[in-house]
């Protein structure tokens, strides 16, 4: 396989194709017949997915740095370039995106009844933008893609959404735009500083890593970036846009939102917050704040989820809880924690995506999402119930499913560095059962009473095609996550080493009474890298 890919020169063009093929698809879908749009969009997205599969083999699991790098100058005067690359952190995010987009498109065949061409075009545009976010290695380019994801999502919620779609769409847009504008300020500051220190205008990620920043600067920039990403994650208390957006969004919108868009936040933590601002990232106040917010997210949203009357809102809240585990894992600042966080990201993408698909299927049958309206459905829809129960179990992290591997490693990592916080977070395991099981019971078990519920149909073959790979992956990752872990490890290690090196230098500088470190040390004790001279 590797040889085949090499002969095709795969690593040279794959990343470009992954961004531009969906864009081409947008044009084709708009140009196609209304009736054909969904078929075309689906096969197109499958094509993109198959293309992305090649990354598995083309990726060199022993390297920690960016691979398949390519750079083309874009706005030379400002040092903006169109440069792409992937590492162990972004590899699986890209594959998750192409995978869930295909399934989300297949899952919207019945749900989307109006303006189909526009819808599928927007889905493909969203795919392109999200992949762009994960593979951009130029901070400016990253920002462009990051903001670009808002546009299709805004329309998907605003046009095809439920009753309060406008409110939800605007809330979603404003919340996230507010956060990312602060990040833009941060990026521009970095740019200015880089120009000052390095002497050339640049937005390249690799260059910005070389920019020496004082502790205070790092804290401010960290805050700006962290706000942008925390809204996306979302971190308590910036999460209230999520339930509204999820409830109003059409099924495929919810799937993509949960499976991929939220990951952009935690991906940003890993890609930017930790490497760019390593001193701030291990500042005790910062770490404690993030961990505490993550833990509150886990417990608080579990409680809130448990009393939701609307099934979709319940699942939306559980997303916040899951992402809390990711935040915990990342700010554990060790290999176990971060790898665990990454697995939770993947697992949450699969299991929560599947949950939203299943709830969408339920909605198509019953035109309601109120949990109390259902009951006893397992008797008339056994396949449906089976798929739902498997997914729900993966979601609450039962061992043998992907959820467990992620949560276990994330908690293990957190326990290594912050036992008390990990202890409290582990209680989330109980409350996961507390929110999920009553819902499963009320919907699928109990007595089959109403006639509407009696007439609910079981899964169609199309729906089985959607759910089968998702359920299979949940169990496969649950039993054999090693191929994923080993591909992530070098990159994760690199991030941690960078953070630790900065921490060590910082500690040495601040406790070293002799000033002969000279020009290499700034006033508040940050080691300046070579670029300064």
């Amino acid at each position: 396989m590797t040889a085949l890919l090499e002969s095709l020169g795969y690593s040279g063009w794959a990343l470009h194709a992954l961004i531009w093929l969906p864009v081409l698809g947008v044009g084709l879908v708009l140009w196609a017949d209304e009736a054909q749009a969904k078929i075309l969009a689906f096969w197109w997205s499958i094509g993109v997915f198959v293309l992305s599969l090649g990354l598995w083999w083309a990726f060199d699991p022993t390297r920690a740095d960016m691979q398949m790098v390519s750079t083309t100058p874009w706005i030379e005067a400002w040092g903006v370039s169109y440069s792409l690359g992937i590492d162990g952190i972004s590899l699986f995010m890209v594959m998750l995106t192409t995978f869930t987009t295909s399934l989300a498109i297949l899952g919207s065949f019945n749900y989307i009844q109006k303006r189909e061409r526009a819808f599928y075009a927007l889905m493909l545009l969203l795919e392109a933008a999200v992949i762009g976010v994960f593979v951009a290695t130029d901070v400016f380019l990253f920002y462009v893609f990051f903001e670009l994801t808002l546009v299709p999502m805004y329309f998907i919620v605003g046009i095809w959404g439920g009753e309060r779609r406008i409110y939800a769409a605007i809330k979603f847009f404003l919340y996230t735009a507010f956060g990312s504008l602060l990040m833009l300020v941060g990026i521009l500051y970095l740019f200015a500083k880089a120009k000052l220190v390095l002497g050339l205008p640049t937005f390249a990620y690799a260059d910005l890593l070389q920019v020496p920043l004082s502790g205070t600067e790092q804290l401010w920039l960290f805050t700006a970036f962290a706000l942008a990403f925390s809204v996306k994650v979302p971190l308590f208390p910036l999460h209230t846009w999520l339930p509204d957006a999820h409830v109003e969004a059409p099924t495929p919108g919810s799937v993509i939102l949960a499976a991929v868009l939220l990951k952009m936040g935690t991906y940003g933590f890993l890609r930017f917050l930790l490497p760019l601002f390593p001193v701030a990232a291990q500042h005790p106040t910062v770490v404690t704040t993030m961990l505490v917010l993550g833990v509150i997210g886990i417990l608080y949203t579990a409680w809130v989820a448990a009393v939701q009357p609307d099934a979709k809102k319940l699942v939306a809240y559980t997303s916040v809880a899951h992402m809390g585990f990711v935040v915990l894992g990342i700010f554990a600042l060790n290999v176990n924690g971060i790898q665990g966080g990454l697995i939770v990201m993947i697992s949450h993408g699969i299991s929560t995506g599947a949950l939203f698909l299943l709830l969408g299927m339920l909605y198509e049958r019953r035109h309601t999402r109120t949990i109390a309206e259902f009951g006893g459905i397992a008797r008339v829809a056994p396949w449906f119930a089976t798929a739902f129960v498997i997914t729900a179990l993966a979601s609450i992290g039962l061992p043998g499913t992907s959820g467990f591997v992620g949560e276990f490693l994330a908690l293990l990592g957190t326990f290594e560095s912050h036992p008390t916080i990990a202890f409290i977070a582990t209680l989330g395991v109980i409350f996961a059962a507390y929110y999920m099981l009553p819902m499963v019971q009320t919907v699928f078990f109990n007595k089959l009473e109403t006639d509407e519920n009696r007439q609910i149909k079981d899964l169609s073959s199309r729906e089985m095609v959607i759910l089968a790979p998702l359920c299979a992956l949940m169990i496969l990752i649950g039993w054999h996550p090693t191929p994923l872990l080993e591909r992530m490890e070098p990159s994760v290690r690199a991030v941690i080493e960078r953070v630790e090196a900065a921490g060590a230098a910082d500690a040495q500088a601040s406790f070293d009474p002799t000033p002969d470190a000279g020009p290499d040390v700034e006033d508040d004790g940050i080691q300046v890298t070579d670029g300064d001279e």
Binding site: L174, L409, L448
Partner: protein, 724 residues
């Protein structure tokens, strides 16, 4: 069932493991297949269940109920599960037997670990998917596959007419798979997979008849309460990792003694593990799920909630014997919780009328004994009681299942809706079900601790070891252990009472089922009574594999005629030796006399005589009581009777002080914190911006002239400003 007998025969004839040739090599025989077979069974039955579910769903949709034997059903949905379900169990049991035979032939010093693949590897933390074969896991495998096979066979008869027949076997096979993972996993992490997996199966099987809300609720309760314990297990694993950077059994136990004896870390680890055990093995205060779990089919109660899953906590402590031995505080806690639970549950069982509830509380109580055993360092005794309990309690549950089956049929045939599980509706069943009656008496005598039945040896061993441990020179809390010992003796007497009461109410006296119904009562079919008979044999003689040395040469042990002295004890020696060594170094020799004097033989005789007297007295007193059927029963319970009958109101207390407050807090979080405070702030920001915009928009008069005027003024101002 034949092979079940075979197993014990082979075990008995081949002598102890220590008699084997030195240096021989243990070659595991297809250990993966033991685990894999039930999994394959689950998959096959699961597919059958889903296929059957489609047809069943159509029937339900049409407003009817699917008839499993009816013309619409494929014959395969009944025949195939009948063969696959018990079949895979037979296969797993045979392979286990081969391995057991091989292990008997060699003296296995260190556990054999069979690696399959790397499960998780982050770079700093690695766990393999690997199975560990040693003396302890072998005993557990024998119990799980052996007793499990018998219960599968029993289920064929018991569940015959249930519309969910293939689904039932799918769940049951899945349970066995996870249970085997639990006992065969080579690390705590893998054990945890089985640990939560069996909890899942328990959840699915308790709520098997999920159309009944109460039953579905019971399943949910079991899962959530179990998860409280699971948190303890997880934390303990994290602590272990912090201490040893691994959670694999072999390296952890090898390095365990680097931890300080009685230190905070090892105490924390063991106490958290014990929290997990408390949840899974239904000890105080987390026992509340087990009585409710009786909502599941009765063979499930026998397999999961008596013989195997609930004993996982005991297995966990026995497996971690080295760690527990290092922490006297944790060990005392284990024994204390066990003793209290043994007494507490026994008192509740005194007043229950539901036959399965009596057995459920009895199980909780007996599990308490096992914890007393492992808590006083008598790990082999705890495992021994685990084994004998698996025999006689499975038998009791299956017997009660046969009774309920018969009762249910009787009421069904006359279309009366009476409680088929309430003992007040039974009575005099001896005449209708002689085999069930006889086998259940064997089990009752075994659990009551009457010589020479299995329970006598195992229970007596535990009680004796409690006394001996408390009397050791360096025993940490001698008075405490004396109290445990007294509690254990008292609970044993209560056990004899409530079990005999159950037997008398069910099988003796006059029949209270109803005249028309009584004619329909009949003995269980062969698929059901043969497992009962096999288990009865095991309950009767199973205790003789581990006759304590002191008793062996007295008349209780057949005057030394029997060669199996302390077989199980020696068999487990390689695994418990380290713990015993730690104990001996720190506590010194165990005492050879009870707190009030007297040796092992004396107290064994005393206890069996006392239990016998209680049994006889109970037969007399309960037999003379006038019991009336549920419909006619109008007695109001008062005082202690009401307290016991209502289980000390523990469920109500939990609901009032834990469950409801959490739900209230959840509502508060949602409606006040989330909707008002957080979202309110967000919306307020939006409103303020909107308000500002609205104010400024007042300048937009819409009149061109105004705009023009402002424009001109503006230009003039700028001009003026630039001029001056």
């Amino acid at each position: 069932m034949v092979s079940g007998v075979f197993a014990s025969l082979i075990a008995l004839t081949q002598g102890g493991g220590q008699a084997a040739a030195e240096g021989a090599h243990f070659e595991p025989f297809l250990p993966g297949l033991v685990v894999l077979l039930p999994l394959l069974g689950f998959l096959a039955n699961g597919i059958l269940a889903l296929r059957h579910g489609r047809a069943s769903a159509d029937a339900v949709r049409a407003g009817g109920e699917f008839n499993l034997g009816g013309p619409d059903s494929r014959p395969s949905t009944h025949t195939l599960p009948t063969w696959i379900g018990p079949g895979v169990m037979a296969g797993a049991f045979l392979i286990t037997l081969v391995n057991f035979g091989r292990m008997l032939g060699v003296h296995l010093e260190a556990p054999v670990v069979v690696h399959y693949w790397t499960w998780m590897a982050t770079g700093t933390f690695t766990v393999d998917a690997a199975l560990q074969l040693d003396q302890l896991s072998m005993i557990m495998m024998m119990i799980i596959t052996g007793v499990g096979f018998l219960i599968h066979v029993f289920s064929v008869g018991y569940m015959k007419e249930d519309p969910g027949y293939p689904r039932y076997f799918a769940y049951l096979n899945l349970f066995v798979f996870f249970m085997l993972v639990l006992v065969m996993g080579s690390s705590y992490a893998l054990m945890f997979v089985g640990w939560e997996g069996v909890g899942l199966c328990s959840y699915l099987l308790i709520g098997f008849w999920f159309a009944d809300r109460e039953k579905a609720d019971a399943g949910k309760k079991a899962f959530i309460v179990n998860r409280i314990g699971d948190v303890g297990f997880l934390i303990a694993m994290f602590l272990l990792y912090k201490a040893f950077h691994t959670v694999d059994f072999v390296p952890v136990f090898a390095e365990a003694e680097t931890l300080a004896y009685g230190g905070a870390l090892v105490t924390a680890i063991t106490l958290f593990f014990f929290l997990g055990a408390v949840g899974k093995s239904a000890q105080m205060p987390l026992y509340v799920w087990l009585p409710d779990a009786m909502a599941g089919p009765t063979p499930v109660s026998a397999l999961i909630h008596a013989a195997t899953m609930v004993t996982a906590g005991v297995y966990l402590v026995a497996r971690s014997s080295v760690l527990f031995a290092l922490s006297p505080v944790a060990s005392a806690t284990v024994a204390g919780v066990g003793a209290l639970t043994a007494l507490f549950a026994a008192t509740i069982a005194l007043k229950q009328n539901d036959i399965k509830k009596v057995l459920a509380y009895s199980t909780v109580s007996q599990l308490g004994y096992m914890f007393v055993g492992v808590g006083v360092g008598a790990y082999a005794a705890g495992v021994f009681h685990l084994m004998t309990h698996a025999f006689f309690k499975a038998l009791l549950f299956l017997g009660s299942g046969a009774v309920i089956h018969a009762m249910h049929h009787a009421y069904h045939s006359t279309h009366r809706h009476e409680d088929a599980q309430d003992m007040r509706n039974m009575g005099g069943l001896k005449a209708y079900m002689p085999i069930t009656w006889a086998t259940m008496w064997v089990a009752t005598l075994a659990i009551a601790g009457i010589w020479p039945f299995a329970g006598f040896f195992s229970k007596d061993e535990i009680i004796w070891q409690t006394a001996a441990f408390g009397g050791a020179a360096g025993a940490p809390f001698p008075t405490l252990y004396t109290i445990y010992w007294i509690i254990a003796l008292a609970a044993a007497m209560l056990t004899a009472f409530y079990m005999t009461r159950m037997m008398v109410m069910t099988f003796h006296g006059t029949n209270r089922t109803g005249e028309a119904e009584a004619k329909q009562l009949h003995e269980a079919p062969a698929t059901m009574w043969i497992p009962l008979a096999v288990l009865a044999a095991l309950s009767a003689f199973g205790g003789w594999i581990n006759v304590p040395e002191a008793i062996q040469n007295s008349f209780l042990g057949g005057m030394g005629a029997f060669p199996m002295s302390e077989w199980l004890h020696h068999w487990l020696e390689p695994l418990t030796a380290q713990a015993h060594h730690i104990q001996e170094v720190n506590l010194g020799e165990l005492s050879h006399s009870a707190p009030f004097g007297g040796g092992e033989v004396l107290w064994a005789v005393l206890s069996t005589v006392a239990a016998g007297v209680v049994v006889l007295l109970t037969i007399r007193t309960v037999g003379r009581q006038k019991i009336v059927s549920v419909a006619e029963d109008t007695t109001e319970l008062t005082g202690i009777s009401a307290l016991l009958y209502n289980k000390y109101y523990v469920d109500e207390i939990y609901d009032r002080f834990i469950v409801q407050p959490i739900i209230e807090a959840s509502r508060f979080c949602w409606r006040v914190v989330d909707a008002r405070i957080i979202d309110g702030t967000v919306n307020a920001v939006g409103l303020v911006s909107k308000g500002i915009g609205w104010g400024i928009s007042m300048f937009q008069t819409g009149s061109v002239n105004t705009y023009a005027f402002i424009l001109t003024v503006g230009v003039l101002v700028i001009l003026g400003a630039s001029l001056f």
